[in-house]
């Protein structure tokens, strides 16, 4: 029941927000906050109760889910509402709920128009994301996958900013929609192809993840089907050269939209690769692993170089995301237990640090009314504790030990080294570039000669609490990441075997 609750709470909460606007502007905000907190509580409750370390060696055909919920939907085609949760999905669901809370909080003063409808969209994005993390029926997964897009489109198109350089929020929203929709359709084709192949082999029509996992496929067919999945997830991650939508969407979206985009929408791409692309097509995935790792390297460097050249602070941060996701891609396709653990850690870390940076740039925008880095500088003494927080998250984003980002990046690199030493060696140069762009950001915003006198308003309690909460998580999990690693670890434990990397680790 808890699983369907995780989806229904934000869904109904969204409707309530929409209608609640009649009673005032504050009502939707509180409803949204309440429902996200409730989702967070449910997720934490599941974490508290369940034991995610044990991998029960279940009988073949069924998978070791910690919690499962299923109901028939379209029995004729073997489609059902099948939700299931293991450590990996739990971590990501909890992350979604937490960032959902932050997204509501950071829009508290920023959003003034159509507040009810805004929160409807915000919550329904999260419905889609939570659904993606829980669905283990491929048809249902696709439904949720598409469901994320529409509210996000509205969020950017209706509440976004149009910048002076001719980039419009409508343009950015359309670009986002076309990229993700087109790649989503490729995935649909692949899903259908897989289902038909499964029917040809066994005679059953089913969209069940567990059943489809063992489908016998010819090498060529597996490669084509895998590519359909890979493209859809690669657009979301995003993988260079399919990243074009991300900077535009980030720059034009409202703060809450950027937080959701960077914090969780990107993670659906990585989750998709881990949950579907790799287990469904292990051999084909193994075959493209060198290519994928190469693309990861390209992403690391391309994102870092592009970030340095941006003038819009949100585009700057968006390109650093691309760089970080390059590490994630390398870790996923290295496929050793250590690297995969690193992937989960880095996903969570990136969600925290990048959304914090987006929240901070939103706060800067509220105070300075600009996002142009050329108009900033010397702000250190003028903004109270904001620069201090920015310093902390910038340092996290460059992978300073003691933060969760370090744990993620280094586990990925440690884990990938046995499989691809040269890739790791080159990616390590990306650590230097990460320092370059991170410190450049700090330098351009807060250091240098001040542009004016006087102090802006300091952070209020709401803003302070949000940032302090994120910082506590980044540092706390950076110094003791074990709860995270243990929870997600069991869910990932099978992948190295599937990819044939089981023995590469730990045997010198």
């Amino acid at each position: 029941m808890a699983l369907i609750g995780l989806i229904l709470i934000p869904f109904l909460g969204g409707l309530a927000c929409w209608q609640g606007e009649r009673w005032g502007e504050r009502v939707p905000r509180w409803i949204a906050l309440g429902s996200m907190l409730l989702v967070l509580l449910v997720a934490l409750g599941l974490w508290w109760q369940g034991d995610y370390r044990l991998v029960a060696a279940a009988e073949p055909g069924s998978l070791p889910w910690a919690v499962e919920w299923r109901a028939a939907w379209i029995p004729r085609f073997g489609i059902e509402v099948h939700l299931a949760l293991d450590g990996l999905s739990l971590v990501l669901v909890a992350l979604t709920a937490w960032l959902g809370v932050l997204a509501v909080l950071c829009s508290w003063h920023e959003i003034r128009r159509r507040v009810g409808f805004f929160h409807l969209n915000l919550l329904w994005i999260l419905v889609g994301v939570v659904g993606v993390f829980l669905a283990v029926d491929l048809f249902l997964f696709f439904v949720f996958w598409e469901m994320m897009l529409v509210p996000m489109y509205f969020l950017i198109a209706l509440w976004g900013h149009s910048s002076a350089t001719g980039r419009t929020r409508i343009g950015a929203a359309t670009k986002f929609f076309i990229y993700t929709q087109a790649s989503g359709l490729l995935m649909l084709v692949s899903i259908l192809g897989l289902v038909f192949a499964h029917r040809a082999a066994t005679g059953d029509v089913t969209f069940s993840y567990a059943a489809l996992r063992g489908t016998p496929l010819s090498d060529a067919l597996a490669m084509w089907l895998m590519l359909g999945f890979f493209l859809a997830f690669a657009v979301k991650l995003p993988v260079v050269p399919l990243h074009g939508w991300l900077p535009d969407a980030h720059a034009q979206a409202p703060t809450a939209g950027s937080v959701d985009l960077a914090g969780i929408l990107l993670k659906t791409g990585a989750y998709g690769l881990l949950r579907f692309a790799l287990p469904l097509f292990p051999d084909a995935s193994q075959a493209i692993a060198p290519l994928a790792m190469g693309l990861g390297l390209v992403g690391i460097f391309y994102g870092a170089l592009l970030a340095c050249g941006q003038q819009d602070i949100k585009r700057f941060i968006a390109y650093t995301s691309i760089s970080h996701m390059g590490f994630v891609l390398i870790g996923i396709y290295a496929g050793t237990a250590l690297a995969l653990q690193g992937v989960v850690a880095l996903m969570v870390a990136h969600a925290f640090s990048t959304s914090a940076l987006f929240i901070l740039s939103g706060q800067l925008h509220e105070r300075l009314h600009t996002r142009d880095l050329r108009e900033m500088g010397g702000l250190w003494g003028r903004l109270g504790s904001l620069p201090g927080f920015m310093l902390c998250f910038v340092v996290a984003s460059l992978g300073m030990p003691g933060t969760l980002n370090f744990v993620g990046e280094f586990l990925i690199l440690f884990g990938s080294f046995p499989v691809a030493p040269w890739v790791v060696a080159i990616a390590s140069a990306g650590l230097v570039l990460a320092a370059v762009y991170s410190l450049l950001l700090m330098q351009r915003v807060h250091h240098g000669p001040p542009r004016g006198e006087g102090r802006s308003t300091d952070l209020d309690r709401r803003e302070y609490a949000m940032l302090l909460g994120l910082l506590a998580l980044v540092l706390g999990l950076g110094l003791y990441p074990q709860p995270l690693l243990d929870t997600a670890g069991a869910a990932l434990h099978e992948l190295p075997r599937l990819l044939g990397n089981a023995m590469t680790l730990g045997s010198p």
Partner: protein
């Protein structure tokens, strides 16, 4: 004992946290009090630990918690105290305390004192973790932590753009070395399956014969990290610019402790380096080259702190030279005495700079010995130790030990470089002292110089001055168990070397005194024209490394960033959209609404289709 060990980093960390959260309420004096007290307590704890350790020398390990545990990958938050870490710990907290106290005088009346002490305390905490970490990952945490604090403190006066650039440069250049170190960690873990230092040192000889390419590579990567942190060729360019920070920062981070972390790393991993003779030889050669390069550069600087910065590079070059001839004990001994006398020189320089109203150009100072007697005394004692004046100074004993190790292990070339370096050292430090304290004052700031007062100013200088004399050399670091025994040789040779080295130091002093006191005008004339001017230029710019790196790395990178700034790949992805747009224009023109056009198109189309069918049929 077990409970005490973690306190050495927890106390400064607590200092940082309380400064960060209470900043508004503390004020300048309160901040200084918190900052100094936390390091003072850490120093007290260290003294207790040292007392216990010296009474019963046994390695103390404390595992606080498991940091990361995934399968074979077990990194703990574990501290390990042996003779080597105790030596370093003593330097970090002891010299750190003196510098923190001095900073209370130096920083008075400036803004951002809270921030300054918060970063300084964080630095001490990180440095303690660096030297106490029992595995390479924890060492790396401290390693990056000190780098971050160094960045923050160099850029302390953030309003000046040049300081920001210097801080940035320092972080990025050392980060290049850190990336190499990280790859070294990946390689070591892959090969040996552990990151625990003691375990690595145990397993390495079992796995590799001496000279095995893999172990050479691993040692080379670690050396890369050490070169960056310790400002040795070719990653040395950041240190001179790092002098943009407040002078106590230069004393603590860029002279006494952080920059010597590379020496510590190599000494700590000595078992690995002994298996890699080629890399060890390279270490010595790079050290020798750096000490000569930086010694020459120090001769042609006009900023007090830049002279001292190049001098630091040069002295760390000696330590690397010692490491290169496997004289690990000599390297650490020199690390210790250098920490004393270089911190003294920097603090004395700070006293001069503040006393002369922030004037630090040698040409604009002069004749100060009467007005700033304590600073003068500090410079004379510290300078004598730096120049290794025989018998009475601490520097003599440690440098002599290095030279002796080079001789005893048969490295004649390195020995010669070391002796030549002694001559350079005497010359540049004498030039500095004469320039500041003798002759005529060159500016109003120097003419109106005011001597510092109070114990925060005087006490650190006096204590460090005492430690820079033979008293400091009497402190014998308990390295016997932690490091391999030094090379032995004939005592007669040793005595001869001592006489030669002492003679060279004295010769340098004499030559310097003659040149800089008597032949000043002549020197200035030589340096102003022809070859002399070119040599001055070359040395003043430290052999032109900065310009070369700028051309080879910085500008291409900037060009790349500039060229890519509009995201060409994204532009490429816009092609289909553009194409569709064009097509739209063409096709909408066809829909002109004129019947005549439609009729023609229909007729032509029908004809073509019929023709096509006829041909196919």
């Amino acid at each position: 004992m077990r409970l005490l060990l973690p306190l050495t980093f927890l106390l400064p960390l607590a200092g940082t946290l309380s400064l960060a959260f209470l900043q508004a309420r503390l004020g300048e004096r309160g901040s200084a009090r918190v900052g100094v007290t936390s390091v003072g307590l850490a120093a007290l704890v260290t003294a207790l630990l040292a007392y216990r350790f010296l009474a019963a020398p046994e390695v103390l390990t404390v595992t606080l918690w498991h940091w990361i545990a995934v399968g074979d990958f077990q990194a703990t938050f574990g501290l390990r105290l042996d003779g080597l870490s105790l030596t370093l710990l003593g330097i970090v907290t002891g010299v750190g305390l003196l510098i923190h106290a001095f900073a209370a005088w130096y920083m008075r009346g400036e803004e951002g004192v809270t921030r300054f002490y918060a970063y300084m305390n964080l630095f001490v905490a990180s440095m303690v973790l660096l030297v106490l970490g029992d595995n390479l990952l924890l060492l790396f945490l401290g390693w990056e932590g000190v780098g971050l604090c160094s960045y923050l403190l160099i850029g302390h006066y953030y309003r000046v753009a040049a300081n920001g650039r210097a801080a940035f440069k320092a972080f990025i250049v050392t980060r290049l070395g850190d990336a190499l170190l990280a790859i070294g960690l990946f390689l070591l873990f892959h090969e040996l399956g552990t990151l625990d230092i003691a375990e690595i040192l145990r397993r390495a000889p079992e796995r590799w014969a001496a000279g095995d390419p893999t172990v050479e590579l691993a040692a080379l990567l670690l050396l890369g990290g050490a070169l960056g942190k310790s400002a040795q060729l070719p990653l040395h360019t950041w240190l001179a610019d790092a002098m943009a920070g407040p002078t106590p920062v230069s004393a603590l981070i860029h002279a006494a402790t952080m920059v010597t972390a590379g020496v510590y790393l190599v000494a700590r991993m000595h078992g690995l380096f002994l298996l890699a003779p080629d890399v060890l030889a390279l270490t010595g050669v790079l050290g020798a080259l750096t000490l000569l390069m930086a010694g020459c550069a120090a001769l042609a600087q006009t900023d007090i702190k830049r002279v001292l910065a190049y001098s630091t590079m040069s002295q760390i070059g000696y330590m690397f030279l010692a490491l290169g001839v496997a004289g690990f004990e000599a390297a650490i001994f020199h690390l210790m005495t250098h920490a004393f006398f270089k911190a003294l020189l920097f603090l004395a320089a700070g006293a001069v700079i503040v006393g002369c109203h922030h004037e630090q150009d040698i040409r604009r100072l002069g004749g100060l010995w009467r007005r700033l007697p304590l600073a003068y005394a500090g410079f004379v004692v510290g300078g004598a130790a730096l120049a290794a004046l025989p018998l009475v100074t601490a520097g003599f004993y440690s440098k002599d030990e290095i030279l002796w190790q080079a001789l005893a292990s048969g490295h004649g070339g390195l020995l010669l470089a070391g002796l030549l370096g002694s001559l350079l050292t005497s010359l540049y430090i004498l030039r500095l002292i004469v320039g500041i304290f003798h002759g005529e004052a060159g500016s109003d700031g120097a003419r109106r110089a005011e001597a510092g007062r109070g114990p925060a100013h005087g006490l650190p200088l006096v204590v460090l001055a005492l430690l820079s004399t033979v008293l400091g050399a009497a402190i014998e670091p308990p390295l016997g168990e932690a490091l391999p025994a030094p090379h032995q040789g004939g005592e007669g040779w040793h005595l001869a070397l001592e006489i030669v080295a002492g003679g060279i130091a004295l010769l340098g002093i004499g030559l310097g005194a003659w040149l800089f006191l008597r032949r000043r005008a002549w020197l200035a004339a030589v340096a102003a024209r022809g070859r002399g001017a070119r040599l001055w230029w070359l040395w003043h710019h430290a052999w032109g490394f900065d310009a070369a790196y700028d051309r080879l790395l910085v500008r291409p990178y900037r060009g790349l960033v500039w060229g890519l700034r509009h995201d060409p790949i994204d532009a490429l992805c816009h092609l289909p959209a553009r194409l569709a747009g064009r097509l739209h224009v063409v096709l909408s023109r066809l829909q002109s609404g004129r019947l005549r056009g439609y009729a023609v198109a229909m007729a032509v189309g029908a004809t073509l289709i019929l023709l096509a069918m006829a041909v196919v049929a």
